[in-house]
Each structure stands twice: as structure tokens, then as C-alpha cells.
């Protein structure tokens, strides 16, 4: 707790002692715990009985790559496409899979090889594209899954599916579920933090606040977006003419009056409000401190690449993710946009990869150096991959690819995941997840498993049934566990 003797605010314990309800402190603590939002205290909130078993990961950093990065040009080499250049995708591969409205009128689906070179890295000799040399450099720490598959073929439903387990809006996101289930690990920051990075060449992919929403869970579990422009947290900075000292005095006076009211009206929600005002006051100090990189050493800053100096860059957000992890934030969700390369992939993909490659690898290395990788789960991936056939005509140099959910690739590292391995495989065309397919719900089940949560037992009753992140599906992918 940051409450020093000079602050006018009472600590929670002081408050409990002074609140003056005619009940014992155990009963009062119980009442407080029963509020919609648990007041701040170490490791508070969460459900009884959770975690279900000893967790490998205490926190998650999800580096979500929105738009559908091409697995065929980054993580999943397909020499067969080279041989099949400009030939029709065989029906035996397509198997009647629906295609998007964008290529439905295209006369043919011509196979499109990658123009980028793949080489082997790490002890296992995993192949990576030349576009991601830094990620290739951490090959021994990461597990590449090449057999991901999803159900949606458009961004909005597919991203929603990845983040909430349902294509339709209204379900809680992964971070909300973990906060609901496991509670918080720190006093001064929210438990589920979202960072959205902006691109240098922004093409305009949207991101919706519901992706970090709490759905039907109480809204206290929703992600808090730390913004890169303006204030990091909405309404955090005191308005003009206000000082920290005056703010402290105001919160103190308000809570003094609130305590008088609590004694008279006896509603435990009043006690919760007192605690939340104090938390807000602490966040006014803790969040700017978190965002202030002046005490990061030069080598660390440089390791994240030149963009780290730019607020809102992916590099800066990766560094902030590490800092959040250090402070005990449970679920850190990054978004990086614009992987949607229907055309001009040859030109745009290298730029995107350059923005992301070094910072993502640096984050894993930084966590490792600090001994945090073993209990921090890092996930890198998008909502789907891209088609092995070209959108438009096949071309050696210039090409684009459409959305594709039947097979794509992601990687994971740390927190209970076995490094230096490849799990699963797509077919020779990279079209179907052929060997050991991993469905989005399986991935979600695995993430929860790493956190010590049985995905079938983390449920919430809403509209007459027990809902869970994985709906009625999902199997933990045991093969990737350390």
C-alpha cells in the first residue's frame, strides 16, 4: 500500500476499525467482500476454490495481431505452393469451404506461394520467415502452433470469437473472465489492462471496446484501456487548478461525510465507494509512474527497437506490458492492427512485421532476463490467417490474400508453455489444419489451464444457463505444456 503517514486517506484497515458499524470486523469484511466490487487489497476478489490447481502462469500478455496475419508468409512455410504456382486450388483441399463475399465472384482460386524466404532456427530447427528475424531468434523459448483454426471468416466476428469465445457480441472477454475468476494481485492498478497501438501507416481497421468488455459479468471486470494519446486512463489527471494535496483533502472530506452516512444508512455499498475513491486516488499516482519510462535503462529501451520512443507504438506498448506485469496486473491485452492484406501484401507485410518483430521478441527476452517469463504467458497471434490462393491473380512479386480461418499459426511462450517446439501442422497448401488441430476454444482452455483454471469450471450463470469462455467446447492442448 502506498498510503504513507502524511496522506489524509485512511488505509482499508483503519477504515474497518473506524467505520463504526455495530458488527464485528470479520462480519464487516464479509460485507465488503459481498459488494459488487471488492475493495482494494492484496490478491482480493476472485472466486472461492480458484485457482483449481497450481498455476504455471500468474499473468498473461496477449499480443493480439488484428486483421489476420498471413501464416503462409510468416510462420508456416509451404513449398508445395511454389510447385502449384497459379494452379487452381484442388477441390480435395477446399472441401467446399465457404469463401468470403470478396472473392466469391473471382473466376478461379489460384495458388499463391510466398515470396519470402524461410530458414531454420533454434535447437529444433523451426522455420521462420525472413520477415521476423528477431522472433526467429527466440525460437528456443517459444512454441509455434501451426494448426490453429477458427469458425468465422470476417474480422468482427472472428476477433470477437478469439477474445470472448463467441462470434456475437455480449460475452465477457478472456481478461474479464480471469479477473472474475482469479481476482486482483495488486492494490494500485486495475487487473485487466488493454493497450492499443497505432500504426505509422494506418489503414483503418477498427477495434471495438466490447473486445475487452465484461459482457454479462459485472462491469468491474471489464478491461481498462490505457490510452496512448491523452490521458492513459480516462479522467485520471486532475483538472486545472487542482493539486495532489487538495485532491487528497477532497477525497478525505468526501469519505468523512460518507462514513457518517454509512453509520446512519448502513449500506455496504457505501463502504465500497469509500474504498474505490481511495483506489482512484492511488491510481492517480501509480498510473503516471507506470507510464514514465525515464528509469528504464538504455539497453532495455534499445532492445525494444527505435519505435519505443513513440507513445502508442507497438514497441512502447510491449515495454509497458512488461512494466504492468511487474506491477501485478493479471491480464495485459495488446492490440496491433492492419494485418489485413487483401492486396499489396508483398509491400505491406514487411512493414507490419518490422513494427512487431523486434519488440515482441524483446519482450520475451526482457521477461526472461528478469525471471518473469516462467510465470508470464505470452501469446502472439491474430483472429485468422490468410488464403493459400491469391485474391485477384497469382503473381510472383505482387499479391494479396483473403481471410482464412481453416488453418493459421500463432506462437506462445513462458508461463507453462514448452519452448522450442512446433505443435500441429496444416496440409501441404496451408489450407486445412491437418495434424493436431487447435480450435480457438482449445487455445482458450489452454490459456486458462496455464492460469490454474479448469475452463469447464469457471462459469457464470446468465439468462438461465451457466456460461463459460469456451462455451461447451475446448480441450486443453496438453502437448504444448511444459
Amino acid at each position: 500500500m502506498r498510503c504513507s503517514g502524511s496522506t489524509p486517506l485512511a488505509s482499508r484497515r483503519d477504515f474497518l476499525a473506524r467505520a463504526g458499524l455495530g458488527v464485528g470486523s470479520a462480519a464487516l469484511a464479509h460485507l465488503l467482500g459481498g459488494c459488487t466490487t471488492a475493495p482494494a487489497s492484496s490478491a482480493s476478489g476472485g472466486l472461492p476454490g480458484l485457482p483449481h490447481f497450481a498455476p504455471k502462469a500468474r499473468r498473461v500478455i496477449c499480443l493480439f495481431q488484428s486483421g489476420g496475419p498471413s501464416h503462409l508468409d510468416l510462420l508456416d512455410p509451404k513449398p508445395e505452393l511454389e510447385r502449384q504456382f497459379d494452379k487452381d486450388l484442388p477441390d480435395s483441399i477446399r472441401r467446399g469451404q465457404r469463401i468470403t463475399g470478396m472473392v466469391a465472384s473471382q473466376a478461379r482460386l489460384a495458388c499463391q506461394p510466398s515470396r519470402f524466404k524461410f530458414t531454420r532456427h533454434g535447437k529444433a530447427g523451426t522455420e521462420f520467415s525472413e520477415l521476423i528475424p528477431h522472433i526467429a531468434g527466440i525460437a528456443d523459448d517459444i512454441c509455434v502452433i501451426r494448426s490453429m483454426h477458427t469458425e468465422a471468416i470476417n474480422h468482427d466476428p472472428a476477433i470477437t470469437f478469439f477474445q470472448t469465445g463467441s462470434q456475437l457480441p455480449g460475452r465477457p472477454s478472456m481478461g474479464a473472465w480471469t479477473d472474475y475468476g482469479l481476482g486482483r494481485m495488486n492494490d494500485d492498478l486495475p487487473s485487466f489492462v488493454v493497450l492499443v497501438s497505432t500504426n505509422k501507416d494506418r489503414s483503418g481497421q477498427g477495434l471495438l471496446a466490447r473486445l475487452w468488455g465484461s459482457g454479462f459479468l459485472p462491469s468491474a471486470h471489464q478491461g481498462v484501456q490505457f490510452r496512448s494519446a491523452g490521458e492513459p486512463v480516462l479522467y485520471l489527471r486532475d483538472h486545472d487548478g487542482m493539486t495532489r494535496e487538495r485532491r487528497g483533502a477532497l477525497v478525505g472530506a468526501a469519505n468523512e461525510l460518507n462514513r457518517i452516512h454509512l453509520a446512519a444508512a448502513g449500506d455496504p455499498e457505501t463502504a465500497a465507494r469509500i474504498a474505490q475513491a481511495e483506489m482512484a486516488y492511488r491510481m492517480q499516482a501509480s498510473v503516471p509512474e507506470l507510464m514514465d519510462l525515464s528509469r528504464e535503462d538504455k539497453a532495455t529501451l534499445e532492445s525494444y527497437g527505435p519505435d519505443v520512443g513513440a507513445p502508442g507504438s507497438f514497441a512502447r506498448n510491449c515495454l509497458l506490458a512488461r512494466r504492468l506485469a511487474e506491477k501485478g496486473v493479471r491480464f495485459i491485452q495488446l492490440y496491433h492492427r492492419d494485418w489485413d492484406h487483401h492486396g499489396g501484401l508483398h509491400d505491406q507485410l514487411p512493414k507490419m512485421a518490422r513494427d512487431v518483430d523486434q519488440p515482441a521478441a524483446a519482450l520475451v527476452r526482457d521477461l526472461k532476463r528478469r525471471g518473469m517469463l516462467e510465470d508470464t504467458l505470452v501469446i502472439w497471434g491474430g483472429e485468422f490467417g490468410r488464403t493459400p490462393y491469391a485474391q485477384g491473380g497469382a503473381n510472383r512479386e505482387k499479391y494479396g490474400r483473403d481471410h482464412h480461418g481453416k488453418a493459421f499459426s500463432i506462437w506462445m511462450a513462458g508461463g507453462g508453455i514448452r519452448g522450442g517446439m512446433v505443435h500441429g501442422a496444416s496440409d501441404a497448401f496451408g489450407f486445412n489444419a491437418e495434424q493436431d488441430p487447435v480450435h480457438i476454444h482449445d487455445l482458450q482452455a489452454t490459456i486458462l489451464h496455464c492460469l490454474g483454471v479448469d475452463h469447464e469450471r469457471l462459469t457464470y450463470r446468465f439468462q438461465g444457463r451457466q456460461f463459460r469462455l469456451t462455451d461447451v467446447h475446448g480441450k486443453v492442448v496438453k502437448a504444448v505444456l511444459a
Binding site: 479522467y235 483533502a249 474505490q276 475513491a277 469447464e456 438461465g464
Partner: protein, 1022 residues
Amino acid sequence: MKSTFFLIVFAAYAGAADKLDFNRDIRPILSDNCFACHGFDAKKRKADLRLDLPQGAYAVNDGVQAVKPGDPEGSELIRRILSKDPEEIMPTPESHKKLTPAQIGTLRRWIAEGAAYRKHWSFEPPSRPPVPGGGEGLGPIDAFLREELAKHGLKPSPEADRERLIRRATLDLTGLPPTPAEVDAFLADSAPGAYERVVERLLGSVRYGEHMARGWLDAARYADTHGLHLDNERSMWPYRDWVVQAFNENLPFDKFTTWQLAGDLLPNPTREQRVASGFNRCNVTTSEGGSINDELLFRYAVDRTETAMGVWMGLTAGCAVCHDHKFDPVTTKEFYSLYAFYYSAADPGFDGNILLTPPVLQLASPEQEKTLKEFDVRIAARQKAVRDAIVSLKYVDPATLTPPPPVRTGETVWFEDAFPAKAKVGVAGGPTTFVEAGQGPVHSGKRALKRTAKGVAQDYFANGASFVIPPNGVISVWTYLDPADLPKSIMLQFHVGGWNHRAFWGEEGAIPFGKVRTPEKVNMGKLPEAGKWTQLKVDIAKLGLKPGMKVDGFAFTQFDGTVTWDRLAISHRIDEAKDLQWSFKVWSEKKQGSRVAELPTDLQNLVRGKKAAQWTEAERKRLLDWWLENEFQGGRETLDGLRAEKLAEESRRKALADQIPATLVMADLPQPRQAHVMTRGQYDKPGEPVTRGVPAAFHPLPKKETYDRRDLAEWFLSPANPLTARVTVNRLWQQFFGTGLVKTSGDFGSQGDPPSHPELLDWLAVEFRETGWDVKRLIRSFVTSAAYRQSAAATPEMLAKDPENRLLARGPRSRLDAEVIRDQALFVSGLLSPRVGGKGVKPYQPDNVWEPVGFTGSNTARYVRDSGEALYRRSLYTFWKRTAPPPSMTAFDAPAREASCVRRERSNTPLQALALMNDVQHVEAARAFAQRILKEGGPSDGARAAFAWRTAVGRRPRAEETAVTLGALAAHRARYVAKPEDAKKLVAFGDSKPDPALPADELAAWTLTAGLLLNLDETLNR
């Protein structure tokens, strides 16, 4: 945790006295633990055993009987529950479910008592139960409540004091607090019926309808954007205003229902009835490129079905989209029979990202309607003239000619050294000024137009000269920006009947004209480099200018800065053999496979779905005719004049139509679509065809050939319907008492909570229906009940026995809704605008809320805040963008409005504390409130503190509260006297200006004190 408490209270009571009740005591246990495998869903049923029906439970299979009435030990169910064998034990270990010893005891007792089954309580139509006697002078509500309280050994609380009571009633009925004068009047009214008179006054206030509408709009998932992908603006607000009006006029709930579900189908529907049918159009829609039409149509119909079933019947029908409902009697086939009522809706799958996705209703005044009709007649006549002329045209495709026709180019100058000779030039700002070389920059000719401005300024004409738009036109203009005095934005505007065509460079929000992302306001990018002449070019197609249109005015517009304009001209280049507007062949090849929005639907599908080679001759001919009529730019001698006339009329019509509000309404296709069961809820797996119908477990529809949404509405409202009346009174009860009699107000199915007071719920439901679905009457009965009027103070005993206050041994207390918190602050401060209705407004919002989530192509990608009165409207009127709703609302649990919501959460977070501390609208309100305190509060600090408490909290402060308030004030005052610059900054926050007569340090000190009171827990609760 709270609900566990309550169940224990309940169970203890049940155990003590009466015989067990199947629905209250047994069904929840079976439903939770057994029905998933032994319930309604035939596909998931295990061991062919169903426990949801007595026939299934009592059946003897291979000598084994699951439930043997009267004999727990002979019942397999009990044996399996008690079994230690993991192969035998129920529920199975994999289900992760486990019965408590108390539950096992209850099941045992139930079987011993005869294992009586009853239909799920809410599926039996309510009948009016007798009102319990005993209470002197108690109304029915209190009679039922007292009986239950007595059973639990609790006593009602005394009536709240009058100050708290009028505050509660006023906030609950109008969403605003009472004024001190209203409180005084109530305190002074010693005649009997004083409180009832207050209630009547409040029910008659226009604020009542606004407040009541809010809750309904959550259920209706009302918003001002489409909700998916681009999330562009949608015009739906006339529906919102209709809801306000309906509550204020106390439209009976049966009409309220029918109009919204089927207003469009009523005979000769009135404007209100059609607007009301917009309820069905409030769902989220998309126009995302890769979407599949069938899937969208499927999803919209599913959403509409789920919403109607949820809002009126409290059933979670959505489960049955994919499989038979596991708990409630809705099979998949029955779900799709309901869905069939909606599957023939006339609105398209792709919303087109437009403001008014058809069908829409223009809400024109009678004069406007007449003028529009006149336009239509004239346009039709011009259209016919064009069509007639085409017949005489002998079209030869230039792409088929060898050699191809020569390339032609040309340029017409519109502005050089002067406006056109007869143009009537107008200005906004100082007089029009031309500079000659030596006086300022000139690019060509002798002179250039130069202007220095603060804010928006312009030179223009809209009368006296005109120019015809050539095909493939490119408009160009030279500009010079003064590097020492940069504008925020510059704009070219063109007048064709109205000002509908604009191009701008620089900041989007600076010059306020035109709808963004439409030809009315086209973003051309950054400002040109300052300090040098730059030629800016605009393609006419981008501005929606069509060849043949007559431009009869243009404007040079800027925001701030010094700008010089020179030589406005239009050039064209025509290569007929390669031009979409000369060669039908080139056009067909280019457009094939894409969506051509201008085409009629059937031709659109043709061009999109079928290759040119496969078109039949008749199809080709129709398309060619359309193309000649609308696109072809050759044959000018024949067509030009005619087409220009038509375009001019259309342009004038549009200028008028744009001023007329319109709203999305419901309509069905003339030919219904065939609905199917969608296998496993997949849009591309149509199974068995279905016709419109209702679930068999409920009362049937009357026998008829065909049904439509009117029949569905009647079915909801039928006395045989067990749910609609109960669900409705419960939702309203929840609004006034904090929690519904059925806590799960969105789920009355077997997984929902049982009612705390079943008889009261039924009595209210029957009463509501039989007294003409009178909403105000129902609400009056709530707020005049003794239960509502009780003091809300909670003792530890009450908290221990009934933490959620379900039994109402004390008055209701809960945090105000998001909108009420903001409206209250505005009201108390005197800033609130009383204006009712109209288009959504954009009040204060922090920067970067829309921008990071928005697609750059969206017309709601950037938040351009309003100013003046629009900042202070009731929150009901705040523009609602679904993908980024107002943060000051969502922080206090307003739903995103993506899906129907009948019960809001009430969270309590640090972000709420931050919003109340620092949101400019709260700080500004505190300042304005401080001004009132200083002017109206009396001469002394003490009198002012009392006034502030009475205005914000609704009561006089206690001595200790006054002491804390004055202590805080003194400390603030001392600090601001010492730091006057801080005081000036604080009081200048917000758009409205502080009263200069008040000293800044005093005003600042009171601003913080006012903010303190506005943020108190007591102020935020009622």
C-alpha cells in the same frame, strides 16, 4: 454471494413449515443438476430418462424406477445420488456438479411426500390470488409483502422522513432530484394526501416520459449507429422520441406492444404506429465487405426473435438457435417458427453504411410532403423524356470501333481575377478582397482572392451564373497559405440546387458544414504546404457531381488563417473507347462482380453474381437501357439538356429531403421468404422448412391461414399468455424497488430465480392486464405503497437476514443510473436544458474515445463535440455510438446497446470515482452550482452550506456534516487566496463562462465544496 444468502433464508423457511413446492424447492435442484442430460433436449438425453416430466421420472425401465412416489429408498434417483461408485454416482464427476446434503434431504422429503410435479410456475397463466387480510388499511401490495415479512420474523421500517421520500419519488419518477422549493412545499403540506399529490405532479411531468423511456431503450437496444464494422450513423431518434411521448401520454401497454411489434401491419397505420415499428429495426447491422447476405438476414431475424421473446416473455429463446432448449420448452423447430415471423423483413442484409437503410419513413410536414410529391412528378416526367430520347439513339460501342475515336481534352475556367460577371457575391467575414501582384501573392492573371479570418469565413455566390459539369471532370484551384497565419481548414463548396458538394483540406471538425464521409464533406487530406502556390485537384465523382449537372454557385471557405485563392477551373479528358461512360463493354467488364449501389436490386444482383457472358439477351438489354439512361455521356445533342433538367430537379429535391427527419421502420417483403430450421444454428445449413407459429407448451394461435407479427403481438397480450404481464410488472417493479420480484428479470424460464413473492407477482400481473395495461396506474400503486415509502436505513440484523432487501423490511436504496447521475449534476447546477427530443447531441467526451476504435472510413470515426445548449441536454439525448459509447455512461454501467438489456449492473469502481472527480461536465457543473450557492444561498457560509446540501442531497445537513463541509471550504479558501492563479484556472474550466462579478478565489473554493457534495455517496444514491 448475496443470492446464496437469500436461498438459505428461503430454504430454511420452506423446511420449517409448509409442504414442499415443486417449482420453488425441487425444480431448481433438478434443473441445475439433472436436466442437461435428463431434460427436454432429446438429442442430449442420456439413458432415455427424462426427469422434467412425471411420466419420465415415474417410468419403470428394466425394473428400475427413477422416482417412486412416497418411497425415497426405492427411488433410483436417490440411490445414484448417494452412490460412492464413480461409475454410478449422479451427477457424474465430469459434470463438476455436486448436490449439497440439504438438497439431497429436500429431494428425499419431496419423494416421501409423493413426488408431486407441477408445470414450471411461470408457464401457468396467472390467476388473481386473494389479497391477505389482517393489515389495517393496507393496500394489496403491502398486504402481500407484510405476510411474507412476518414469516421471516421481520418488521417493516417506519416511513422515511419527507425530505428523503420526496427525493426518492422525484428521482424515480423523473430522473431528476426535487428542488428545495418542492421539498418545502411538501414539508408544508399538512393536509392528507400530500404525498399522493406529489406523485400526481411527477407523473404529469414531461420528465417522467424521458426517464421511463431510458429503461425501455435498453430493452429495445436503441442507438444512433449501426453497431458493426464501420459503425456509421443511423437515424433512429424519432423512434426514441416516440417512446418518450408514449410514456408521457400513458399509451396502454397493449398498444405500446402492438405498435412496436407490428405497427407497420396495422390497417392504415398512423405515422406514430409506423415510427413505433422501428423497435424491430434497432438491432445491430453491418455492411462489412466479406459478409454473406444469407448469414446477415439469418442473424437479424435471430436477434429480433430473441429480443421479442426476451422483452415480452422473459424467455431466453436464443439457446434454441442451435439445439432444443435444455431447460425450457422451446424446441429448435419452434424457435425457427417464431423466427419465421421476422425472416421476411424487407430491410437488406447489408445496411449500406448509410444513415437511412430502407425501409424508412420520412417525417415531413404536410407542406414538405406536397412539395416532395411535386418534385417526384417533375422528376418522373424528365426521366420519361430521357427514356424516350434513348429509344431514338443509335448506340455504337466505341470500344468496338477501329480505329478507336480520338482522345479529347478541354478546360473551362470558372474563376480568374473575378467571380463570374453576373454572380451575386456574398461573404461571411470582412468584405471580399482581391490583391494584385505587389500587394500579395498572385498565381496567374492579374489578381487573386485573399482573406484573413478568425473562425469560419468565406466568399461565395449561389445565383447569377452557372456552369455545366463535363464528363470525367477534374476541378482545380490554386491556393497560397500564409505560413505566419495558417488556417485550420480550407474548403471548396459547390452549389447545385443546394450546397451539397464540398471538398476540404485540414481539420475535419473546423468548418462545420456538411455530413462527414459523404459528398457533402469530402476529406481531401492535409492542408497544402504553406508559403508556396499549390494546385489542389478534386475529381468530380468524389464530390457526387455528375456530368450534365449545372453548378450555379461556389464558395471559397476557410477556418482561421490567411488564404489566397486563384484560378478555379475544370478540365476533362475523354478516351471513349476506354471510358466507362462511353463504352458499355468497358463498363460491364469493370463493374462485373462488384456491388453497384445505384442499380435497382435485381440488376445489382445480376452484375454482382453473374458474368457478362452469361447474361441473357433480355438481361443485357435492361442493363444497357439503364446504363444509357444514367451513365452514358455520348449522344449529348440528344440527351444533355434533358438529363441536366432531371439532375437539377433531383438535386433540389435532395436539398429539401435532407432537411426532413426520417427514421428506420419495419416492413415485410411482399413475398415472404421461406424460413427453415438452421441446422446447429448455421446460416448455410437450412434444414426442414417451417411456417410461422408458437411453441406448443404455450397457448395456441387462433386457427388461420397465415400469420404475421400482429398475431404474435396478440399472442403476447392474450389473457392465456402466462408471461407477458408478469414479465412487465416485474421489470417495472425492479425499476422502483431495485430488484425484481423475480430477480432474473430477463429469465422467467426454469433456470431463472423463482419469485420472492409469487402471489404478489400474479396479483399485480392480473391487475395490470385487467385494468387496461395502464402503466401510470401500476407505477402509482408502487410508489404509494408503504413498502416504497419506508426508511431505507439498514440495521445489521436486516443485512444479515436479507442482504439484498428482497423482502423489503426497509425502503429501496440503490445507486442512480449513469444518466441520472449526469442529469442530476446538470440540474442542480442550473445548466440542464429543458428541451425535449430531437437528433442525438454530442456533449463533452474525453479526446480519443471514438478515434482509436473507429475505422478511418467511418462517419463516426471522429468525435466532433457540439457546443452551447447541446452540452447540457438530458443524457437520454446523447448520441449513442455502439462501438464506443459515451465513457461517462458506460463507467456507470450503461449497456453498450448492442443487444437487448432488461437489467443493468450496478458496479462500484475507481473509474467512477475518477469520472466524478475530473470529467469536465462534472467540474463545470460544480462551478455553476457554486455560482448558484453564492447568489441564492444567503449571506453566510452556514446558510450557503445548508442551501448546497438541500439542493444537492435534498435535506438539511446534520451539525457534524456542516462542520466537515465548512472545514473543507475554509481549507480550499485559504489555498485559493494564496494561489489566485489556480482559482482562475479552476473556474474557467468548461465552455460556459463563470460569472465575472464573483471573485475567483471564493468561487473556486465553493466549486470544490459543491463538487464534494455532488460526489457524496448519498447524492449518488436514492
